[in-house]
Amino acid sequence: MTIAETRPVQNMKPLAGDRRAKARLLRLGLIALLALTMLMGLGWGAAGDTDVIAALLAKFGIGEARLVDMTVVWDIRMPRVLTGALVGAALAVAGAVMQGLFRNPLADPGLVGVSAGAGFGAVAAIVLGGLLPFALQNLVGAYLVPLAAFFGGWVSTLVLYKIATRGGRTSVATMLLAGIALGALTGALTGFIVYKATDDQLRDLTFWGMGSVAGATWAKLLTAGPIIALALITAPFLARALDALALGEAVATHMGIDTQRMKRIAILSVAGSVGASVAITGGIGFIGIVVPHLLRLIQGPEHRNLLPNAALLGAIMLLLADMVSRLAVSPAELPIGIVTACLGGPFFLWILLKNRALLES
């Protein structure tokens, strides 16, 4: 049998079992929805009637806008909306990559201690950063907190992977339990550092620990943004390897994947996304588990489409959660972590009950 003999007649209708067209269509929908959500995020607030469109256009010299609108849209809401979108995308993609890496739909950076590790890094940087040699402080400057959070997340992911994975197989029970233990340990270390902090540092820690996108500024966005962007750009290059890894590490190797290399890159990508996110918004849970799971139900698990769509849907979800957090106890604001946990907690339980077999394997 040669290739020519087996070539089928070209068929115009979408092939059964091929969900790529659906995923591409979904992506277009998500792009539109994200644009809409971002506009809503820009228009929604306590500043009364805000002409968002005029303010947006005026920035590029088209038409005119009131000064107050310019300030509200560009200095207050824009960094907040961009931070929300970027962090949402980062958390969803980190979740998807981590689930692919652990070959397990229940892996989530918030659940298995990676966020806690990143938080420890951030707290340690805020409190102990002053002890670093002056030259080093100058060198890293404002990047110290996100870099330390990245490092904390990286070490926790590495340790977790080493503990939970044996011979290419990850035990769900070991992963979740080791995650709890790691989370507790890093929590204790974080507590110890907080205990040692000075009054000024406590103030910084409190603001950081409120865990919301409300404190977003251009300055913070510019420090964490590049790390998140780098992690997001890296993720699609892992898509083929993550698909292959779903069949097991040995099979992936037989399919030509350098599994050791891809695991190192995946862990760095997860740590970058989670670390930088935690550094600017504190711990926001469940986005990383809810978004990839929903997408797999709709368009299947192929990472080439899962990762970009997860970024879009993650951004949308976090922006919506941010709006809920602003509305729920208006005019005060609920920390966004509470909102995502209220939605994500029950969702996680639902997945758990549906996938009991996973836990018993």
Binding site: M1, I3, T6, R7, P8, L15, A16, G17, D18, R19, G100, R103, N104, P105, R240, D243, A244, L245, A246, L247, G248, A250, V251, T253, H254, M255, G256, I257, D258, T259, R296, G300, P301, E302, S361
Partner: protein, 270 residues
Amino acid sequence: MIVASDISVHFGARKVLDAVDFSARAGEVTAIVGPNGSGKTTLLRAMTGEQAFTGEVSLDGTSLSQLSALDLAQRRAVLPQSGNIAFPFTVLELVRLGLTAGLSTGRASGLEHLPHAALARVGLDGFEGRMVQELSGGERQRAQLARVLVQIWEPVLDGQPRWLILDEPVSALDIGHQLTVMEIARDYARRGGGVIAVMHDLNLTSMFADRVTLLSEGKLRAEGTPREVLTDHALSACYGCALRTNTPPPCGGPWILPQASAVTSAALPA
């Protein structure tokens, strides 16, 4: 040609393979047989790089350790005994994963139709849209075989043979599909590729293999054509039970008939 020389594997203090030599030629189906725990799969896993071993394995003259995963993936594909799949793929998505290595090297362009051809070859046409998790054990094994075939569809590429390495390829299959799969293997070899298969069914081995390697207790017991290796004496000694071989007229190879012991045969109705 795949040559494995002086292969030893230890699991802790236990020697699972003891200085085994093995070779397989392109254009032939080479079967590895032996009782449970004789080291068949371990030998296969040493040759595919999944198992640490002492000794040397070479693929067409190049040591295995000098080939990258991607080089190897283009020259041989491995069908594992079984394996769970982490996420809910459709059959088409699973089989399309066979193009992974080809996509990394740019060789897979224009080969989008291969998954369909491979599914038809293993008797699973029309299964494209089914979820892999919902397949029966035998269907899943054939879907995996289709994925493996897609990876090395042409038995000879750039003048070099490619290798199909199968670990118990028919263990979950009904008798009809056992023949389908073994015919795929033989056809692959006839067209210039090489096939190595770990087998339990001695009659299928006799029917389809060109060469047989018989292992027991981690040692090489016999090597040669089915007629040379599958003998009453060698099989009975290795498998620890009474076996009689017989050569029926239609096909040349010996048939292996298990002989019930005196006690159980007395209990059977005449």
